[in-house]
């Protein structure tokens, strides 16, 4: 966890309000503070400003897609260590590979299990 925070902060980015609500609810109930973004640009701005402990990113977002956002986060000195979980309906093998190539740490397929999301977030943050 970043110094000075009582709870780990997770950035959740998705242009679908339903997904954002479900992700936020599960993570807040699990003891995380959640920052919400509705598109890739907003997520990038929040990532740089808030330096979250982890990011859960949708792949198909307006303005900046999840793959490109992951690449940007990895390329920036300040944000490059933020672990990234991609949440995607595009879960064919090449898409998953593209996500890992861009620098994602994990991916979760939509429709998703909120419990599984929590477990993966905990696993990644626990490793740090």
């Amino acid at each position: 966890m970043t110094d000075g925070r009582e709870q780990p902060v997770v950035l959740a980015a998705d242009d679908d309000d339903d997904v954002l609500e479900l992700v936020t609810f599960r993570l807040e109930r699990s003891g995380y503070t959640v920052l919400q973004a509705h598109d890739g640009e907003e997520a990038w701005t929040l990532a740089r400003a808030e330096l979250p402990d982890l990011a859960v990113l949708d792949v198909m977002m307006p303005k900046l897609d999840g793959f490109e956002l992951t690449r940007r986060i990895r390329a920036d000195e300040a944000t490059r260590r933020i672990p990234i979980i991609l949440l995607t309906a595009r879960a064919q093998d090449p898409d998953v590979q593209q996500g890992f190539d861009a620098g994602a740490d994990d991916y979760l397929r939509k429709p998703f299990s909120p419990q599984e999301l929590r477990a993966r977030v905990q696993a990644i943050l626990g490793r740090r």
Binding site: D16, D18, V19, E21, L22, F25, R26, R29, K110, P111, F112, S113, P114, Q115, E116
Partner: protein, 335 residues
Amino acid sequence: MNWVVLVGAALLVANTALVAVIAAQSWYGVRRLRGHDELVARLRRPAVEMVDGDPPAEPPPLARNEARVFAELLARYSRQVRGGPQERIVAYCEAHGLVDQELRRLESRRAWRRARAAFTLGDFGARRAVPALVRHLDDRSAEVRAAACRSLGNLGAVDAVPAVIDARVAARVPGAVAKLALLDIGPAAVAVLITLADDEEPLVRAAVVQLVGLLGGAADAAAIQGRLSDPAAPVRVATATALGRLGAREARDDLVTALADRVPGVRTAAAEALGGIGGRQAVDALLPLARTDEFEPARAAAEAVARADPALVVRAAEAPDAGPHLREAAGRVAL
């Protein structure tokens, strides 16, 4: 003169009344939309707490309009979640009679209502709606058929696979909708698909083989390999493509034989498949085809050699009889 004034006044009154009706309708529409949005905002949290709470929270008592919006939210969440939360949504919809309500609407005289019900039943995850949805693959409305097909995919209805294939082949549902539904059903559909690979209708066989290629694994290749000698060319094309996608090395000999098929499309598909499967024997068989001037098969063969053995395609392109396709493929390798 009086007559003209009277007509003018009547037109003015009618015009004013029309504008007033349009304005009222518009105002009512905006108000209704706003009310709906407010309900969505208010009910979102109780809906999520019911779907994913620890323990799941009982929803508050709801008025009729609230219950409708609550059900709409559950249907939307159901598209996004799986596992326990989705099961809770199904249980809620069953317990509150929502599934029965949509099943009744599925028999409505109005097509838009039937289509909406078909769509919603899929979102509710209502497995017991499968027989009714299969029946509506024959609905007189194209929208209802498409919605039923999409929902059968959502429900993972393996038992509906033959009906979906049938609807696709008969063009009762768009090919893309049927394909997406079968992809949603996933690998569980493969066993049923394989039983349809011997269907008497060539278009069914072609569709089945293509889907086995998309959904199956290497172990399923043997079940469709025999279709490489199918009397119908579209089936042979689909089989070659599927075998390539499945990486079926055991089909290499048959694919080499298919390089001499009388139909160019089959030769092209076989060449593309062999490019992915690779191996010395494949390359030896592809080179002569790559040197010919049959545009599609020769280009596919040259590309296949380049994929299987990039160094070889560069060497082969230097021969005087290499032909344009091998040289083009070698040029791409060099880049």
